[in-house]
């Protein structure tokens, strides 16, 4: 029997705000425990929440970027459950009137691009972090009250690969929109998944399980692979999938039962009386829509249209909005955007990958890259020299002209200067010269190499080939 898989994601995204959602404490990561807390985020008796408008703006921006419908009137609710990391033992979240409803995001699949529908996006507060010691436990409340946006998809994803692609596409949008730093190591993006399988052709979805503790995109992929296999195996031998929450054990590479449906919480949601409903005016939405930066899909299309780039280049460049910005800054000053793209995709991205840094951290400027490319185009230096100049630019910055000058890299394109060297090479290597004359074309490369060696790499290789060919094919030297 063949099976169809349905996967839905619930993604918690930490918003890029300076302060927490209901108080003025900073959201800085990595501070010593309980140093970024106040009566409000500690849930002290009498403290009241005050909504951070920036968190609302960023959530709405995400909604606009993902084509959601924005609720003009939205409200907060209390979600009640006891847990030591929850200061108030209720979480302020949104239940029936979230900020954003609907929307979707396209992903690339082997069978073409496909829209994954979103159910909703709501805003809520993060909880603290339990710490366990030898004899006791503690709680760090620095993270309590950090603004989180929860994005819930429809169960439109059909494989672990698709879930993975969705997460990458989403991350791209959130980065482009300046909505989140999406720093996985700092827990900026956390994901729970709902998954069910059913015999292919069946109308109704199968019984689902919910997976938790997925701390990386890779964990999502592995956990889904495992869980799909587990559910298919159960159904294949006539057993049923139990509706439950399962925890991903990353070490063992398996999912383990946490709690069944019967043990599920009754969260007793009710409207948060300490906050007033969020009312958004049309003017406000218009203003925010105007602030929305260009999104990856639109930018890809524009890079292809305006700079004549192939789709592949556009995809690579827009994966990181900063890289795309760098490209555009350079391409605007250059006659040949495709060549700019080649340089960035090969040399620059390789260095970024090796050093694990952002393009913003490079001392290389778009101007310098354009100047370097033009120098090559004009035949002033050759490619190997250019690559070494670029390496220096990426390490220390500076102007290409100055580096070329200091390191004496200007290539020799003067026929008169090259001919004596070529004469020497032909004289010193009679064998290869004879081979070439006897029709062994590859021998020419050896001779070119020798000329480059004697000019310490500065000879214009095209000119060397031309002169060599003429010399060996019997034309007498010009002198």
């Amino acid at each position: 029997m063949k099976f169809a898989v349905s996967i839905g994601l619930e993604i918690h995204v930490q918003l890029r705000t300076r302060t927490k959602i209901f108080c003025g404490c900073p959201t800085t990561f990595g501070a010593p425990p309980n140093t970024q807390v106040c009566p409000v985020c500690l849930g002290l008796p009498g403290a009241l929440p005050v909504l951070n408008r920036e968190a609302v703006r960023l959530t709405v921006m995400a909604g606009l970027a993902l084509g959601c419908q924005i609720n003009r009137r939205s409200k907060f609710d209390r979600k009640n459950y006891f847990y030591p990391d929850m200061p108030k033992n209720y979480q302020i979240s949104q239940y029936d009137l979230p900020l954003c409803v609907g929307g979707g995001l396209e992903i690339a699949t082997p069978s073409g691009r496909r829209l994954i529908r979103l159910r909703r996006i709501h805003l809520e507060e993060d909880v603290g972090k339990n710490l366990h010691f030898a004899q006791s436990s503690g709680v760090d409340f620095n993270r309590a009250g950090v603004p989180l946006m929860e994005i819930v998809t429809e169960p439109d994803l059909t494989s672990a690969d698709e879930a993975h692609s969705f997460l990458f596409a989403l991350k791209e949008v959130l980065l482009h929109g300046g909505i989140s730093d999406c720093n996985l190591e700092e827990g900026n993006l956390r994901c729970d998944v709902n998954i069910s399988v059913r015999p292919e052709g069946a109308d109704e979805l199968g019984v689902k399980t919910e997976l938790k503790n997925l701390n990386s995109f890779r964990a999502v992929h592995r956990a889904l692979d495992y869980e799909i296999r587990r559910q298919i195996e159960l159904l294949s031998c006539g057993r049923a999938v139990v509706q439950e929450t399962r925890r991903w054990n990353d070490e063992l590479g398996i999912t383990e039962s946490m709690r069944t449906k019967e043990e599920a919480h009754d969260y007793r949601y009710f409207p948060e009386p300490d906050l007033v409903p969020v009312e958004l005016t049309e003017e406000q939405l218009t203003e925010w829509r105007a602030q929305l930066p260009e999104l990856p899909a639109a930018r890809r299309a524009r890079l292809m249209r305006e700079y004549g780039l192939p789709e592949y280049d556009a995809n690579v460049l827009t994966a990181d909005p900063d890289v795309a910005d760098f490209f555009e800054a350079a391409a605007l000053r250059s006659q040949q955007p495709k060549i700019v793209s080649n340089w960035i995709m090969t040399e620059v991205l390789r260095v970024l990958g090796e050093r694990g840094i952002s393009i913003r951290d490079l001392p290389l400027t778009p101007d310098a890259l354009v100047e370097l490319i033009e120098t090559v185009q004009r035949g002033v230096i050759n490619m190997p020299a250019a690559k070494s100049v670029l390496a220096e630019l990426m390490e220390h910055g500076g102007r290409p002209a100055e580096i070329i000058e200091r390191r004496g890299l200007v290539q020799i394109s003067d026929r008169g200067a090259l001919e004596p060297v070529i004469e020497e090479v032909v004289r010193d290597h009679p064998g290869p010269a004879a081979d070439y004359r006897n029709g062994k074309a590859a021998a020419l490369q050896f001779l070119i190499g020798q000329v480059m060696k004697r000019t310490r790499g500065k000879a214009n290789p095209k000119l060397v080939a031309e002169v060599l060919r003429a010399r060996l094919e019997g034309h007498p030297p010009s002198s």
Binding site: P45, V50, V139, D274
Partner: protein, 501 residues
Amino acid sequence: MSTSTPVAGPSSLSDALVALQRKEISSEELVTGLLRAIERWNPVLNAYIHVNSEDALACAREADARRRTGDPAPWLGVPIGIKDNICVRGQPCTCGSEILKSYRSPYDATVSRRLREAGAVFVGRLNLDEFAMGSSTETSAWGPARNPWDVDRVAGGSSGGSAAAVAAGMAVAALGSDTGGSIRQPAAFCGCVGLKPSYGRVSRFGLVAYASSLDQIGPLTRSVRDAALLLSVLAGRDPMDSTSLDVPVPDYLAAVDRAPDHLRGCRIGLPREYFAEGIEPDVEQAVKAAVADVARLGADVVEVSLPHTHYAVAAYYLIATAEASANLARFDGVRYGLRVPSEDVVEQYERTRAEGFGPEVKRRIILGTYALSAGYYDAYYLRAQKVRTLIRRDFERAFQQCDLLLTPVAPTTAFRIGERILDPLTMYLGDIFTVPANLAGICAISIPAGLDSRGLPVGLQLMAPALEEARLLQVAHVLEQTRPRLPRPPLASRASKGSPA
């Protein structure tokens, strides 16, 4: 001894402010007098659960020094008593509960900050029903506050400590909180003035929440003018409380001081439903006498209807308990307050809360949890919210026919300690005339009408539309002038033996 008068010095907040400004009395003298009264009478009345003797005296001396150097702060050195569910930096805030017996607040409530900035001195923490849940101050972990008019009777609740202290001269004025009548009913029982401002008029930041959508902080004082004075300091928008209203604060004192000596042009409504329930004859008579007086002063007295009054108590006890069930979840022994060490965290929650909360608080947490549970939410919580809307509309309609409503505060005068504590339903039904104002978010005041045949104070309630405190205070002041001045409370038992002290 049993009839000795407790207080020397100014008899009201207004007088105290003037006497201090004219340097006829120093803050140190004033506070010393209060501390002496507290020392003498608090063992009888149990109004204060914590007295800041040294701290208050130090602050009084500092205030006197500042006044000598010409500091113009208007309330410099004025002593105020604070209900023990309103935070004052560095002071205990027990909420009358075992679970917070060791807790001190590290921050000021907005009202405390405003009073502090105006120069006020905080004398002590006033007794209350545990987490303000009760109508008699009997649910306090510190024992009941007693009524200065008959110490065998309750002071009312939940702000019973505040009312008893003001009535007995152990406080010039005090802050209380009112969720369903917790300022007005004890004010009525103890013979003082109690104002519940409109929802959003006074910041709730730093008030330990019982029912967030109903709670308001307000003054308990010896006169309407004093209430106006205190409200002027408390009222106004607070960026720390999203539900506080951004509406200008009128000059309440001017409204009182410029009150005419008549009520011509004022329409006073008598809601039919507030006179139909089982009211004690003495209470009814006191209200009727007041009605005659307002008519004599030229007011148009009209009968109006608030048809959903009958459902108010039920709606109140669903909404308030639902909110309370979440508000009180934070008392879990993890971060502050009582912790009963246990094997695991769940057991720790259970034992801490089992030992920390009293029976009334547990009853309300369970009731509220039930009202919000899956499958019951629509029938209880949601339904109660619909009733709340109907009650609000009742008032809107009534206020088209009249400017203010005049009603009893409670069906009875102060009852005996122990009389109702084992019968929660009777206790709840006693809130019938006060909870509607909280559900509707309007303002209401309780002023003394006189004494019943047993010599116990009877209260009168005036209610006005939301944010109409100026009008409410003005009419209350005019009405107050027509009432006979209450004698000093006996501070003793009415039973033959006299004072138990």
